[in-house]
């Protein structure tokens, strides 16, 4: 927790904070050799503090692009977006968020501890505090004892857990996750979903999560943003709160199946709409 004190400008967000992310009329057009591509069109979205929001949709619907816009890795063509009340660029410069990529993207020449230490080194945090943060976050993702291993010595699921620990190491209030479990098999994915949920409950972070798995989205989220392609847009936002004490068993419950059904309908509708207009 001491890490927060090192970033005096970033005040801790109160948990009930409104509008951690606020997107208004946002559009993004990629200029390609085949002409312009409407990656995002007229996006309106707000995410409150402590929420777990999933973007779901088929490939090409702009869910990853939207996440990258929030992270200031892509620039919108028009519209406005604020992250913690700042522009994404300011938020990035104040290290407001941790980003988890599709692949673990651990640096192969660094040990697990070294990888988690990387953002802290970049941010100029002293060694003693780095050590504390590494130990605390490895414990959080159940990887204590693997400090000195190199990434290739860990399984895919363990590597992705290490990358989550890395994203959490500097204690950002916002966690942006881009299909973090997409490359893992279903058994590992289920297990990590459960762990992520516990971790979210424990740390009370705001999470924005990109996925193309309906059960994953329904199981994890408080809010599901259903997106559709060409142009990438938000089709529907479905509230989804299955209570804080969720286990994997909940996926057999009628409430779960009901929401999953609504998401599936939304996705299908988004698609047929798409075909009707092309």
């Amino acid at each position: 927790m001491s890490v927060v004190t090192l970033r005096p400008k970033a005040k801790p967000m109160p948990q009930a904070a409104k509008n951690v992310i606020d997107v208004k009329d946002l559009s993004l057009v990629f200029e390609t050799n085949d002409g312009p591509v409407n990656a995002l069109s007229n996006i309106n979205l707000s995410v409150d503090g402590g929420e777990f929001v999933s973007f779901i949709g088929p490939s090409g619907c702009g869910k990853t692009t939207l996440l990258r816009v929030i992270a200031d890795l892509e620039q919108p063509t028009s519209g406005s977006i604020s992250v913690n009340g700042m522009t994404p660029s300011e938020a990035r410069q104040k290290r407001a968020y941790g980003y988890v990529f599709q692949a673990a993207a651990l640096y192969p020449w660094r040990t697990i501890a070294g990888n988690i230490s990387l953002p802290l080194e970049v941010m100029g945090i002293p060694k003693a505090e780095r050590k504390d943060s590494i130990a605390r976050n490895l414990e959080l993702v159940n990887l204590s004892g693997f400090e000195k291993k190199f990434p290739w010595q860990l399984s895919g699921g363990m590597q992705q857990r290490a990358s989550i620990a890395r994203a959490l190491s500097f204690d950002p209030h916002l966690l942006l996750m881009d299909e973090p479990f997409g490359a893992l098999d279903e058994i590992v994915r289920d297990h990590l979903n459960e762990e992520l949920l516990k971790l979210w409950a424990k740390t009370q972070k705001t999470v924005v999560f990109v996925t193309h798995s309906i059960p994953e989205a329904v199981f994890l989220s408080t809010k599901i943003v259903v997106m559709s392609p060409r142009p990438g847009r938000i089709h529907e936002v479905i509230d989804c709160n299955l209570g804080s004490e969720r286990t994997l068993d909940i996926r057999e419950s009628p409430e779960f199946l009901e929401i999953a059904h609504r998401v599936r309908e939304g996705l299908r509708h988004g698609h047929s709409y798409d075909q009707a207009h092309l």
Binding site: A71, D72, L73, R92, Q93, R95, Y97, G98, Y99, F101, Q102, A103, A105, Y107, P108, W109, R110, T111, L118, P119, E121, V122, M123, F150, P151, W152
Partner: protein, 291 residues
């Protein structure tokens, strides 16, 4: 046992093959001289005697391996290293110029690569010149480098080393440009999410990612540096060094001396390349490569 099976056996087999071919050619190439001698003396020579003679000529077209070995033993071990006839002395002259040139070349190559990777303008403007530099025949440019540097009072080791530098910076520059650009987009994006400075991206990402490329190009660079040092000694009337030894040998028809110098140069190159390989293995281990 593994070492014997994996290294000694295959290398030894090839070595025996090379020696067999070498001896065969010694006989074939040196036989006409022996036959001429016999014809001139109006004697006949038995095949056994002919073969024996071809391997013991004073100035053979191709000296036999054992003649070269004897010459190396004499000039490396028997003669004091301070003597002008010692191959250790000449080897050291060439080696010091090789190492100086290689060091400077590697440094220059790395600096050029860093500049090129960080500046689009330099990438466009420098890269064609770097490639063009290597199309100039080094034998033509070597005497000029030495003459020009002499005119500005730079003499001794440095001008010769400059020729090694001229040859060795190229593989390092090209390899390092590739190496410094090798990190995936995701690794670079990660640094961007941390708001890392250009220097941090360089030291924490680009530099470590480029290490395998650096050592691969350094292996090429060190071998080419040795060639550069020898070439630098050839057209300049150098009085010492492997190149001078080769030149003197060819003036006086001392083929055994030429071959001894050649073999020693090749051994030096092999040792230098292996040394770089060892350092690479050590660094790779430190950087977590699979054993």
């Amino acid at each position: 046992m593994n070492f014997v099976r994996n290294s000694v056996l295959p290398v030894g087999t090839v070595l025996i093959g090379i020696l067999a071919v070498w001896y065969a050619f010694t006989v074939i190439l040196n036989a006409p001289f022996e036959r001429d001698q016999a014809a001139r003396a109006n004697t006949t020579i038995s095949t056994g005697q002919l073969i024996e003679n071809t391997m013991a000529q004073e100035r053979p077209v191709l000296p036999a391996p054992h003649q070269v070995a004897a010459e190396i033993r004499k000039t490396v071990f028997d003669i004091s290293p301070t003597s002008k006839r010692s191959l250790v002395y000449h080897g050291w002259v060439t080696l010091s110029s090789t190492l100086l040139g290689f060091g400077l070349g590697t440094l220059l190559g790395i600096l050029l690569a860093i500049a090129i990777v960080h500046s689009r303008t330099l990438d466009k403007s420098l890269m064609p010149w770097i490639i063009t530099s290597q199309t100039v025949p080094i034998l033509a440019i070597a005497p000029m480098i030495i003459v020009v540097l002499n005119a500005v009072n730079i003499t001794g080791l440095l001008p010769k080393a400059m020729i090694s530098t001229y040859l060795s910076f190229f593989p390092v520059a090209v390899g390092m440009v590739k190496g410094l650009r090798s990190p995936e987009i995701m690794y670079l994006d990660l640094m961007r999410t941390y708001n890392a400075s250009k220097a941090q991206v360089f030291w924490k990402l680009r530099w470590p990612a480029s290490m395998p490329y650096l050592f691969t190009s350094m292996k090429i660079a060190v071998a080419i540096s040795l060639v550069g040092a020898i070439v630098g000694e050839l057209p300049t009337g150098a009085v010492a060094g492997i190149g001078a030894r080769l030149l003197a040998g060819s003036y006086y028809g001392q083929t055994v001396q030429i071959w001894a110098a050649l073999i020693v140069a090749a051994l030096m190159a092999a040792v230098l390349v292996s040394l770089i390989g060892l350092i690479a293995t050590f660094v790779n281990r430190r950087m977590g490569a699979r054993a």
